[in-house]
């Protein structure tokens, strides 16, 4: 056993390059390179990474908030007339123009393709830029969202069907929370589904029976927190939460910090930048983030920091927007100076969550 672990040795490695990260996000805000076209359908999610990212970095003043608000609102799905309300369609937000078509008169059934994840991103962006969400027609949104909930408590992402898993339970819970209205879902049923997703090893899978996974575990714990089924600082108050196995969850989560300092998403898999948020966030919600070895984590994250700004999944790769955003989130959790703090369970800053 060494006298000094490698992460304690080189201070230069540890600097978070805030200015460069801001430049990176602003570049993406202006224009996303062609390789992102495969993600066209959820461009709103990419916008969320940029805008919430700038908020974390305290650089939101660099963008035109009015333009953002107008663009996001233009992606909201509206019924053409009252008669279309009956058909079980979801009136949320589209991820981009690719699923949004102007109505026409040739009789073709234009499917409303608004999506639960895009709706979450839309509301998160609007909250981040300070838009008053009470101006949104939330009644129709929430009523139609409830139709997406399945008998087992899980959620479909679009009304025409799609994979159902914990990601969409999280989106639904966050949407209800941001709109301040729980009519959009049956919380008890959602809770049952989440409980069924806890694996034998304490982590959560995306679907009951699936392997425990950092991202799924975040969705589970954040949802329970938002819905009011988990108390504040579970461990420090020594409260016992019976609906899920908390000690096993805690042990599983902490074991995901590997010897290189980073977090894995699953047992025996490589460490990856984003799990510093997914798993680190779970630990924060549980009040157990003090057990994370912060200098080791910083050591790992700094090797994933790109000289071009942003973060990559693994060391020495090119950065991408997803890993950049979760890299910024991770540094925020580490209380990096100059960054805004996070409302972990909502996936936006505290400042954004609190609002006006």
């Amino acid at each position: 056993m060494e006298d000094q672990e490698y992460w304690e040795s080189d201070p230069e490695l540890l600097d978070f390059d805030r200015d460069r990260h801001i430049y990176y996000l602003l570049m993406m805000y202006q224009l996303l390179p062609s390789p992102y076209q495969g993600q066209e359908i959820n461009r709103l999610t990419l916008a969320y990474f940029v805008i919430s990212g700038l908020d974390i970095l305290r650089a939101l003043d660099r963008i035109d908030k009015e333009a953002v608000i107008n663009w996001v609102l233009s992606l909201q799905a509206h019924p053409r007339n009252d008669s279309t309300l009956e058909k079980g369609q979801f009136y949320g937000f589209h991820g981009s123009r690719s699923s949004q078509f102007q109505s026409n008169n040739n009789g073709a059934a234009i499917l409303n393709g608004s999506h639960l994840a895009s709706t979450y991103c839309a509301l998160a962006i609007l909250k981040t830029v300070g838009y008053d969400l009470s101006l949104i027609d939330s009644e129709l949104l929430l009523k139609s969202m409830k139709d997406l909930q399945q008998p087992d408590g899980c959620f479909m992402p679009i009304h025409t069907g799609g994979e159902t898993d914990l990601r969409f339970v999280f989106c639904a819970a966050a949407i209800c929370s941001m709109l301040g209205n729980w009519n959009g879902m049956d919380r008890e049923k959602a809770k049952e589904y989440i409980v069924n997703c806890q694996s034998y090893d304490g982590g959560f899978g995306l679907i009951p029976g699936s392997e425990s996974h950092g991202g799924a575990t975040y969705c589970a714990v954040a949802s329970l927190k938002l819905m009011g089924f988990i108390e504040e600082d579970l461990l420090s108050k020594k409260a016992s939460c019976h609906i899920i196995n908390v000690p096993l969850l805690l042990d599983w989560s902490l074991q995901k910090q590997a010897q290189d300092g980073g977090f894995q998403g699953r047992a025996n898999k490589p460490t990856d930048t984003c799990y510093a948020f997914w798993v680190g966030g779970v630990l924060r919600i549980l009040g157990a983030d003090t057990f994370i070895n912060e200098s080791a984590l910083r050591g790992f994250l700094s090797t994933c920091q790109s000289e071009y700004g942003g973060f990559s999944k693994f060391p020495r790769l090119l950065p991408d927007l997803y890993h950049s955003y979760y890299g910024f989130c991770a540094y925020s959790l580490l209380k990096e100076p100059g960054l805004n703090s996070l409302c972990v369970e909502l996936g936006i800053t505290d400042v954004a969550a609190v609002g006006l």
Partner: protein, 328 residues
């Protein structure tokens, strides 16, 4: 999916294809101040402009079907295109076995589209169960931990059957890589849910033996330890009372090999009022680095040792001391 540069050069723009001469492409209207615009390639823009045209015209023709294929290659997550493709497949009464083959190819490259499989699979019925199991097996030969492929395989088993060889398949995967946590999870899935095996309690005995064998081979492997613990889910007293559990901890400690998981299991047993043998206590003390902790309470001593042998989690092990139930 990325096309090679040569493929792009070889591609004939749609505006030059005579079979599309009658269609006026519909450009994307992004609004006056779009946020995060994407630098679409010409191929992408053009393909999607033509897609918009056939979609708005509701043209369910063979050429529209081919167009959806091209659009899917460029943007396989676009569910609007997939939905329209389904409408065309229905309208044209296409052979869905062909479609399954196409979907298989797309899904290999983009693992998020397994929902598409289900639509086709549900239409073709249970006859395709073995085909789908074979297909996921092929994926696992390249990427044995592909998350969405595993979800799909579980769905196939539960919806369409085919459980007969699943436990044997888990054996195979674990022989290839005893660290494959996805395979351990699948094993748990089979043992607890297969209608052919009798359930967890029936299987527990042999599965405990299996886990122990894996632990002794690689005690640093987290997976079999979690699996062993999981075999006693909702019945922790049986875990504590099964002499094989304390015994495997002892064996690992005596061998002086990586002992973090073993010590954690000992701590777990102690938390549930297991009475440790003197042999176990001695073995634990023997693996402790110097200076040896002096906690008189054995469970606290285990925590102190864990702080030393697993320093990255030192503050957690220190905290665990505070939540140990009083010794009997």
């Amino acid at each position: 999916m990325n096309r090679g540069v040569e493929e792009e050069r070889a591609r004939i723009p749609m505006s030059q294809r005579p079979e599309w001469a009658d269609i006026r492409p519909v450009p994307q209207y992004d609004g006056p101040n779009p946020v995060v615009p994407i630098a679409y390639t010409d191929e992408f823009s053009e393909t999607m402009d033509y897609f918009r045209a056939v979609y708005l015209a509701d043209e369910r023709s063979p050429r529209a079907l081919q167009l959806t294929k091209e659009a899917i290659f460029l943007n396989s997550g676009n569910y609007t295109v997939w939905q329209f493709r389904r409408l065309i497949l229905d309208a044209l009464n296409v052979d869905l076995h062909e479609e399954l083959h196409f979907v298989d190819q797309i899904t290999k490259d983009n693992s998020k589209n397994y929902q598409i499989w289900r639509w086709v699979a549900e239409k073709l019925g249970t006859q395709i169960a073995s085909k789908e199991l074979e297909f996921t097996r092929e994926i696992f030969s390249q990427d044995a931990k592909n998350y969405h492929a595993w979800s799909h395989r579980q769905w196939v088993l539960q919806a369409l059957g085919g459980w007969e060889n699943e436990l044997a398949y888990c054996d195979e995967l674990l022989e290839d890589d005893i660290f494959n946590n996805s395979a351990w999870n699948q094993r748990y899935f089979v043992v607890t849910r297969s209608p052919l095996l009798g359930g967890l309690e029936v299987m527990r005995d042999s599965e405990v033996a299996f886990a122990i064998k894996a632990i002794l081979a690689k005690p640093e492997n987290e997976s079999p330890w979690r699996y062993l613990h999981g075999l006693y889910k909702n019945d922790v007293n049986s875990l504590v009372n099964d002499p094989r559990v304390a015994s495997v901890c002892l064996d690992v400690l005596l061998d002086k090999r990586d002992c973090v998981h073993a010590l954690n299991m000992v701590l777990d047993l102690l938390s549930h009022h297991h009475q440790p043998s003197n042999e176990l206590k001695d073995a634990v003390d023997a693996v402790s680095p110097d200076p040896k902790p002096s906690d008189s309470n054995f469970a606290e001593r285990v925590c102190s040792i864990l702080q030393l042998v697993d320093p990255i989690r030192a503050s957690y092990w220190r905290w665990r001391k505070t939540s140990i139930p009083a010794q009997d």
